[in-house]
């Protein structure tokens, strides 16, 4: 997408966030749902098709633009980004990387128009370790039959379509070739969605189990038309997903810091605003420094990804830093709010709870540290 169009869009998005989304947060907190009117507006604005190529009805953003948009978007409560993120992140990316022409022509325009997607990898007994995956897809006549349970699936209660990873071979094969990806319309017979899980934060975004019992799918439901590619497609999507979560953490840290900045100027102690006290100023400055560092890391990783570089390590590094940074910032923000920071009446405690997930999903800090180190050691060994 041309940069002038991108800037014009960013300007509109910023306004939309401040004039519509932030004022709607109270209703989201009360009802646990994004208001229907807001969902319709987000669809109209094109927020579900940011990364869908133009020829399929989307905006065709590159990775830098997508990551910057996620950062802007995350100035509002996390549920708004979350409901669009599976579309523009993993699922769109999987279709682009692995879909047949017919699959792209069928699904990308529907995703861009705002049909909501889920991505089913995690199970009760497995996550990133695909060897333990239990969900099976068995050939039957001209099609497939799926059985199994997927857990912690974002958007499951209101998804129109899910991309489900299932094993097409009993044995675990090298390079995860026992896993394939299936396009599953959520109204297919045999699918039930569990109760929405209660969470620490991120009000308005929903995760639930997807249970599949003898779900019959046509032959062309397998992504790419080929067995054994599912995990590879999924993993390819993860770099973008990690940068996207890093961007979400960074945008939300900015929101929290702006809120603390306002509070520190309003709240008085010893007859003057607490912003005048140097220990408060240190917390403000440290937060500003760290947010800036995260922004730079994300911009750099995204620029490299657009240039075709393998950013596995850098995307992981940016995600780890940004999410841990966000945790430190929201902690300081509660501290700046003082006693008010512990009360549900003020925003600070909600920021604190909402931010906690960023260090966990799309790869925990720990698994990403292991990955970064693994690649460092591998490179060292190759050079030695």
């Amino acid at each position: 997408m041309d940069n002038d169009i991108f800037e014009q869009f960013t300007e509109q998005l910023r306004r939309y966030i401040r004039e519509r989304l932030i004022p709607a947060e109270k209703e989201v907190l009360e009802t646990e749902m994004i208001p229907e009117a807001i969902m319709a507006e987000m669809r109209d604005l094109g927020l579900f098709g940011l990364t869908v190529p133009e020829e399929y009805g989307g905006a065709g953003m590159n990775i830098q633009q997508y990551i910057r948009t996620m950062r802007e978007f995350s100035y509002a409560a996390p549920c708004f980004r979350s409901v669009t993120s599976i579309n523009v992140g993993m699922v769109c990316s999987a279709f682009k990387n692995g879909g047949t022409d017919a699959q792209k022509a069928e699904w990308l325009p529907r995703l861009a128009a705002g049909e909501i997607a889920s991505f089913g990898l995690t199970e009760p007994g497995s996550g990133s370790d695909s060897a333990a995956m239990q969900t099976t897809a068995v050939k039957s006549g001209n099609g497939w039959v799926l059985n199994g349970t997927k857990r912690y699936i974002t958007n499951a209660p209101f998804a129109n379509v899910a991309l489900i990873m299932a094993r097409t071979s009993k044995e675990a094969l090298p390079k995860n070739a026992h896993v394939s990806a299936f396009i599953v319309p959520m109204d297919t017979a045999g699918i039930t969605v569990g109760k929405s899980d209660k969470k620490m934060g991120q009000s308005g975004s929903h995760i639930a189990d997807i249970i599949m019992e003898d779900v019959k799918l046509p032959a062309d439901a397998i992504l790419g038309g080929e067995e054994g590619k599912g995990f590879a497609f999924a993993m390819k999507s993860l770099d973008n997903g990690r940068m996207s979560v890093g961007a979400a953490a960074t945008g939300y840290a900015r929101r929290a810091l702006d809120s603390a900045l306002r509070y520190a100027n309003e709240r008085k102690a010893f007859g003057e605003p607490i912003a005048n006290f140097q220990l408060i100023q240190q917390m403000l400055a440290d937060s500003e420094i760290e947010i800036y560092a995260a922004e730079c890391m994300l911009d750099d990783a995204a620029r490299r990804a657009d240039a075709g570089e393998n950013v596995l390590r850098k995307a992981a590094a940016a995600k780890v830093f940004a999410s841990e940074m966000c945790g430190r910032v929201v902690d300081r923000v509660v501290q700046i709010y003082g006693g008010a920071g512990y009360l549900a009446e003020y925003d600070a405690e909600r920021f604190y709870r909402d931010a906690r997930i960023y260090r966990i999903y799309e790869g925990t800090t720990q698994i990403l540290q292991l990955q970064i180190a693994k690649h460092m050691l591998r490179e060292w060994a190759a050079q030695a």
């Binding site: 002038d4 169009i5 014009q8 869009f9 509109q12 939309y16 109209d44 604005l45 905006a59």
Partner: protein, 248 residues
Amino acid sequence: MKIIVPVKRVIDYNVKPRVKPDGSGVDLANVKMSMNPFDEIAVEEALRLREKGVATEVIAVSIGPDKAQETLRTALAMGADRAILVVAEDVEPLAVAKILAKVMDEEQPGLVILGKQAIDDDSNQTGQMLAALTGRPQGTFANTVNVSGDEVHVAREVDGGLQTVALKMPAIITTDLRLNEPRYASLPNIMKAKSKPLAQKTPADYGVDVSPRLKTLKVVEPPVRSAGIKVADVDALVAKLKEIGVAA
């Protein structure tokens, strides 16, 4: 029917304006600019009339610097069909009205919908001047607009409430704040706007002299309100009011 919507590039409504140290005007260096909010309401009203099938084409016009192109692109992204930019710096309401009168001659619109005023100079003159120059009826401070046949009914916001006037078209309307809530430009429409036609003109093309007739003598910041004082009781309050001459 065509609708012309003039739009102005002004200092963004969220920006706190600062006066230049020499008092010659407001400092606009590196300041965020956007479409005058009343003009956004005008664009929205025109688009709604088109969507209702009352109008067939919405033309956005800006008289201003080169950069006013961005403002026109915003109008196009909201949904206007095409745009005209008349490049001129520091134009006053009368010059703008004269150019708009010529544009009306050329385009023969059924309605011209303007913002009631721009938030930078708060002149609130252009619509009225345009009506006078063209001899067409005007409905200013519009709260509601309804087109029926060759007439447009405009409910105007006046001090006592609403006053509805019936105008023979072509007519001039200026928008008040409560007429509508302007839409956000969607990403697909922002992308489409890029290929919509934007014509570039100069005041000379319309034979209009835009040289300023007004001179700004001095611009100053509003005086800062000084803090109040607390009084102990009603007696002290009355005494204080007498002291400053407010109560006898």
